[in-house]
Symmetry: C2
Subunit: 356 residues, 2 copies
Amino acid sequence: MSPRRVTLADVAKAAGVSRTTASLVLSGRGRELRISQDVEQRVLRAADELQYRPNIVSVGLRTGTSRTIGFVSDTVATSRLAGDMIKGALEAARERGFMLFIGETEGDAELERLLLQAMHDRQVDGLILASMFTRTIKVPKSMTAVPAVLLNALPDQPTPLPAVLPDEVEAGRRAARVLLEAGHRDGIYLIGAGPGVRDVPRESVAAVERLVGIREALGEAGLKVAGGRTCPDWQPEYGLAATRDLLETARPRALICFNDRIAMGAYQALDDAGLNVPDDVSVVSFDDHPIASWIRPRLTTVALPHYELGRKAVDVLFNEIGGDRADADRSGEVHRVPMPLRRRESIAPPPAPLSG
Amino acid sequence: MSPRRVTLADVAKAAGVSRTTASLVLSGRGRELRISQDVEQRVLRAADELQYRPNIVSVGLRTGTSRTIGFVSDTVATSRLAGDMIKGALEAARERGFMLFIGETEGDAELERLLLQAMHDRQVDGLILASMFTRTIKVPKSMTAVPAVLLNALPDQPTPLPAVLPDEVEAGRRAARVLLEAGHRDGIYLIGAGPGVRDVPRESVAAVERLVGIREALGEAGLKVAGGRTCPDWQPEYGLAATRDLLETARPRALICFNDRIAMGAYQALDDAGLNVPDDVSVVSFDDHPIASWIRPRLTTVALPHYELGRKAVDVLFNEIGGDRADADRSGEVHRVPMPLRRRESIAPPPAPLSG
DNA sequence: CTCCGTTGCTAAATCGGGTTAGCGCCGATA
DNA sequence: TATCGGCGCTAACCCGATTTAGCAACGGAG
């Protein structure tokens, strides 16, 4: 059905030279190995006319490479998150002529093993091990076979693998600062975690780090968090319940919600209580989920830079692949990607303290 | 750094036989080619002890295959949609021992060409060409080189390629029927398209087909659409505007929104007008975006079966790959995947016609 | 006239498997 | 004793590229 692929041998024959010569010319080493201008031109023209493309599989067999990297995540589907991360990785890889194998483990260690095996069988040149929410993971021992990078994850034990993570502490600072800049001094409550540093969901690195950043920025201004409510899960209904609960005993002037879904629930609780965002209560959040620009007023939030995380992971990986190992001292390094603030409509100066 | 991979030669040496014999045993053809039990056991044990795994790259060079399929979409990142579709494809492929190359074109024809080329260079065994919203696409001519399937897309010209699509017409019928079952007879309005068959956004196959299904189901019950409002884009703000506009002149008893984002806007317009969902107005929608179960009352919607679409595309593709071409008459076939109804809380019987 | 160095190219090995053709040995038969 | 056939295994080639080692032709020097 499909016409057989054009091979190097075809080009060589068309140019009237040996395969060796054709290979030399096409790999650019013709000059240094004294191939004549005449032959060089003949080979190049033949390759062009026949539309020759080297077979990467063959090169792979010879060189042990595949111009391919494996992207293994625990879940690609749970959120838009993953899509953007993959997109970033995809583009960064493509710019270097690399393709991406995608795999997902769903947290199953056996599946992970099989997947990594399948990728090794295909001689991937590098691996990205990604988690869809920031957390610590157990690094499979087969990861040492090729260069690898952890994405959105930290190793549970010291490893030489570099890691790429969002800068959550700075994000916490940003969320707090945007309220400070608007003039808020007190009545700042947290929804989703806090107020204490130990009031966080299990295993959530993001919660801990955001909380640290928030407390730090407020502390620098000589202020403190007025209070907080934890949520068993960061979903709208828990945000609604937590905010409702808070409103029974307190009159917040600003809420820092630990993600946009919680903020969505908080919006509803505030609305139910007859409070206006942002005139009565300012709201700032994290993630920049699409929902953040759909709800009214549009939500000011500190964005998870998924696209950039994906790109950065590939950049770091290529550093490992191409690295002359001279920079082995850089291994195990943790790269933090900035989380940008998306200024929208949910923050205003605090109301005059009439109803105190 | 990494210990060299175990090759067939290693196994053969360990078992004290030739590579040929080892290959024969491991490929299961030992029996028919009269390899002795003794030798067979020795080879199998050696392979097991050395943890031998055949190098797929090498096999690929020999056989021209790669146990890999390429998944090319216009965008992987714009919606959760893509994630689930890829997940379905991923799992179906994995069950057959295949991996997936992911690529995205962003609608750029040149990028698409390069991507398909890169995949051909890696000898993919099949291709899935996916669109993130149902539409007609121009099929690149290089698609004929290997088996291929269109996913969520129709060819703009007749091709022998099979296509996999959601069953939007039946989805339209389901949306209408769920209202009929609740007792609705009149005051059924459309938001996003309609009421006429030509009142649809450009290029949206989904809009056309959903509309056809809705009109059909109502027609069978001897009813008609009471009216409709088109939206320039299917986003919440346009759903809000369209519904607000509708409420100025009409008093709907039920809304069929053309997707969940529109429904989200419609909810807000209804709320602003002091109308309760579902007691005053029932709402049904399409897509089953995560938002549908976040907004209150939770939205009844006809789900886009992304996961199933991905799986089905791979199933159909393997049919092409493994096909003995005897079923060439089946080529160009369009496979429709059912869109399941998610019954939630946004539908109730119509109010008693007091304020009619 | 021989030796040597340069020029310009190519034969052959290699990567790791699959596959085809056939070899050596044994016992049975003519 | 030569022949034949079945058994059990292996040498050798193939896939498509890269790479090493080396060959043939030529000119100039000794």
